[in-house]
């Protein structure tokens, strides 16, 4: 071997050593204990630091979630909670990356649409087992997200989706808040002018949850379903009827233009500035609307159902869910945090701050008692049943996107309703 070759070999060995050192340094994560070691059990009385990744803190009043964590730490000496907070989208990417690398935070904020994928990945723990171990009384939980008979996510607070109506626009057009589809169509036609649209439908493919909140919600409001025995069934009469109804609204020219690229925030903005008379939206937006346009006179009601439907109405909802990472070495402590957040007092406080309905069935947030609009919403919520069939489905976001593409093709006049639904069904079956 020449000197040059030896030198190159020595250099490469050195570089590889540095690289391995660098990678090793980057690979630590997850639970830490106060002595800096990872994953030490607390049975010995050591301090435990739980990581709690979520997108809730930025959406709550400043210091609110931290305050609850301080309360938890006081009640549970030896456990410290480190909040890892970020916007929804980046939290999702962080949780997905954590699930992939096995460095997920001990406790994670979950969206129902992620659960199936994380369960398949083996990234989140079976909460049923943790509840049994802890002797937890499940009856106080309003709902649980289960797969194969086991709970993997507990909805901490729920944001119901209802019909928001601009009362001034409806009054000016001489129509009442609609309760059936035909009333809705008539009201939307009556209020539509050059400057105002009757309804708004966000179908952006970037965040395709418009399919869940603004399209399928019509199916659930009439007691319908997009699934049969847990499998896709979007060609059934209930879904077809809802899709045909929306296609008719489009043909009537009452849907705000630009639907294909509108996002949820566009929908709220258009309603807030009075350019749209009705929208289906989350109660979480009530305060945003009031802050942006205090003069807007709007009301809340249940989503209109099919004419003649008298059964219970499904109310679409989205949740701030919670789960425990499978890679956590402090699952018992992690569940203590969940138990605390689901307790009547803490859950009520959190729901109150978030303007959401509590995940604890006995908690009643103050805003419901103090605000007639929320009281109405709470009554609608309790009169119906929570409905969101995308929760727990595999690749839920992609299912919405697949449906949205077909729906957009149908609205663009490229295909008819039957073809759109058949194509969506085929795409969904492939994903399942």
């Amino acid at each position: 071997m020449s000197n040059g070759a030896r030198a190159r070999k020595a250099f490469m060995a050195g570089a590889a050593g540095f690289a391995i050192f660098g990678l090793a340094a980057c690979s630590s994560g997850g639970t830490t204990t106060d002595d800096g070691s990872t994953g030490t059990d607390t049975g010995s009385g050591e301090e435990v630091t739980l990581e709690f990744a979520q997108w809730w803190e930025p959406e709550l009043p400043e210091g609110m979630l931290r305050g609850l964590m301080d309360q938890f730490e006081e009640e549970n000496p030896g456990i410290t909670v480190e909040l890892l907070s970020g916007p929804y989208a980046s939290t999702k990417e962080q949780v997905v990356a954590g699930a992939a690398s096995g460095t997920m935070s001990d406790v994670v904020g979950l969206d129902g649409a992620w659960v199936s994928d994380f369960v398949q990945q083996g990234a989140i723990s079976d909460l049923s087992a943790l509840m049994t171990e802890a002797g937890y009384d499940e009856s106080q939980l309003a709902s649980q997200v289960q797969l194969n008979g086991s709970t993997y996510m507990i909805p901490v607070v729920n944001f119901a989706y209802m019909l928001f109506s601009n009362q001034d626009l409806l009054d000016a057009a001489g129509v009442d808040v609609p309760t059936t589809r035909s009333e809705f169509e008539a009201a939307a036609k009556a209020v539509t002018t050059d400057d105002v649209s009757g309804w708004i439908l966000p179908l952006s493919l970037e965040a395709p949850n418009g399919i869940q909140n603004d399209v399928m919600s019509w199916v659930w409001a009439s007691g319908g379903s997009m699934l049969a025995d847990g499998q896709p069934d979007v060609t059934n009469d209930e879904v077809k009827s809802a899709v045909e109804f929306i296609a008719q609204l489009d043909a009537d020219g009452v849907i705000a233009p630009g639907a294909a690229t509108l996002k949820e925030q566009d929908k709220v903005e258009e309603f807030t500035n009075g350019r749209v008379a009705m929208m289906v939206s989350s109660l979480a937006h009530i305060n945003t609307i009031r802050e942006s346009n205090p003069d807007l006179n709007f009301t809340l009601s249940a989503l209109p159902a099919e004419d003649g439907y008298t059964g219970e109405r499904g109310t679409p909802y989205a949740s701030w869910g919670i789960g425990v990472a499978e890679n956590s070495e402090h699952k018992a402590e992690a569940f203590k945090l969940i138990e605390f957040l689901m307790s009547e007092a803490a859950n009520g406080e959190l729901a109150n701050a978030a303007n959401a309905f509590p995940g604890n069935s006995t908690a009643v947030p103050e805003f419901v008692e103090n605000d007639p609009m929320f009281q109405t919403a709470f009554d609608v919520w309790q009169a119906g049943y929570p409905a969101n069939e995308f929760v727990g489905l595999p690749v839920a976001e992609q299912l919405m996107r697949d449906f949205s593409e077909q729906f957009q093709s149908m609205l663009a006049g490229e295909i008819d309703v039957d073809t759109a639904l058949a194509n969506a069904q085929a795409a969904w079956e492939e994903e399942f």
């Binding site: 000197n3 030198a7 570089a15 660098g22 997905v96 990945q121 233009p257 630009g258 294909a260 949205s404």
Partner: protein
């Protein structure tokens, strides 16, 4: 007479190093020196570039990576899946149109403005004002560009107001939501945000062209058009080719603008290779197929990068 012979090693142990060993060590240190200086960069390159690329190539040959505890080697199956997916071909066509139209328009607009800013007919103050105005789009981050143009092109936005006011359209135009207009609309936004890069580079090139060449052309009775095609363009050719190649590479990788304006829609009319790959990874969690798509994009980019490097070498 008895003579004791001492081996060279023993002699070396007693006194000074033999000249050969010392030379070898010095030679080794001299050879290692440059590597020492390079090592921080090389370590970073290995960690930040080589390792991820090798990992992605590895993932593309495996099945259900990341999402499953165990994955199997599947050869080029994922590549087959990507290449036979009709949406991938749509994404390729859209990307070629988007990048090609952007580069051509960047060149034409950049050249026009650069010629204007280099013109002796404008005073220094006027040039400074125009230079500032023309370069503005380049100063906005892509998120700002996307939000700005979403508002401008909104059905209730100022663009529709102007087109209606001046009788250019009879009703509301859904610039980003109409399947036939969305791709030209996002391409236009990209053109708007990217032309200053060409303009600045060409302006620097124009300022470097010797005036003697124009004077010689004038003596040969060449008018402004002939001067442009026979003096300006040949002199700027190396810059134009470099800029065009770089711009094409960057534009094919454009993700944020598309994602934030249309999300690849309506339907799949603005689906690009970047959004296609992102959806595979973060919407369907199919990291194996997404890796295969990423490697295909890498290969296409490498071809362009090779052309760029070859051009640079030829220039040197």
């Amino acid at each position: 007479m008895t003579t004791t012979l001492t081996p060279p090693e023993a002699r070396a142990g007693k006194g000074a190093e033999p000249p050969a060993a010392s030379t070898r060590r010095r030679d080794l240190l001299r050879r290692l020196g440059p590597f020492g200086f390079l090592s921080p960069t090389l370590v970073l390159l290995i960690i930040l570039m080589v390792t991820p690329i090798v990992m992605v190539i590895g993932y593309s040959l495996m099945d259900r990576v990341i999402t499953a505890p165990e994955s199997n080697f599947v050869g080029f199956e994922n590549y087959g899946e990507v290449l036979t997916d009709p949406v991938f071909m749509v994404a390729v066509r859209n990307t070629v149109f988007f990048a090609g139209a952007s580069v051509i328009a960047h060149f034409v607009i950049g050249m026009g403005f650069a010629l204007m800013l280099n013109s002796p007919m404008l005073g220094h103050r006027t040039k400074a004002i125009f230079r500032t105005v023309y370069i503005l789009p380049w100063l906005f981050t892509i998120a700002i560009v996307a939000v700005l143009w979403r508002m401008l092109l909104s059905p209730n936005g100022i663009v529709n107001y102007l087109t209606e006011t001046f009788g250019l359209s009879s009703g509301t135009v859904e610039w980003l939501s109409d399947p036939s207009l969305a791709l030209p609309a996002v391409t236009f936004i990209n053109i708007w945000s990217g032309y200053p890069f060409f303009m600045v580079s060409l302006l620097a090139g124009l300022q470097g062209i010797s005036k003697d060449l124009y004077e010689a052309a004038l003596i040969d009775r060449a008018g402004p058009v002939k001067q442009f095609f026979h003096v300006t363009i040949p002199q700027l050719k190396p810059i134009i080719i470099s800029m065009a190649l770089l711009d094409f590479i960057w534009t094919t990788q454009q993700f944020a603008l598309i994602w934030m304006t249309t999300g690849g829609g309506p339907i799949n009319r603005t689906e690009m290779l970047s959004t296609y790959t992102y959806k595979l990874a973060f919407a369907t969690y199919d990291f194996s197929v997404a890796s295969a798509a990423a490697v295909i994009v890498l290969v296409l980019s490498m071809i362009l990068a090779y052309l760029y490097v070859r051009h640079q070498k030829a220039r040197d």
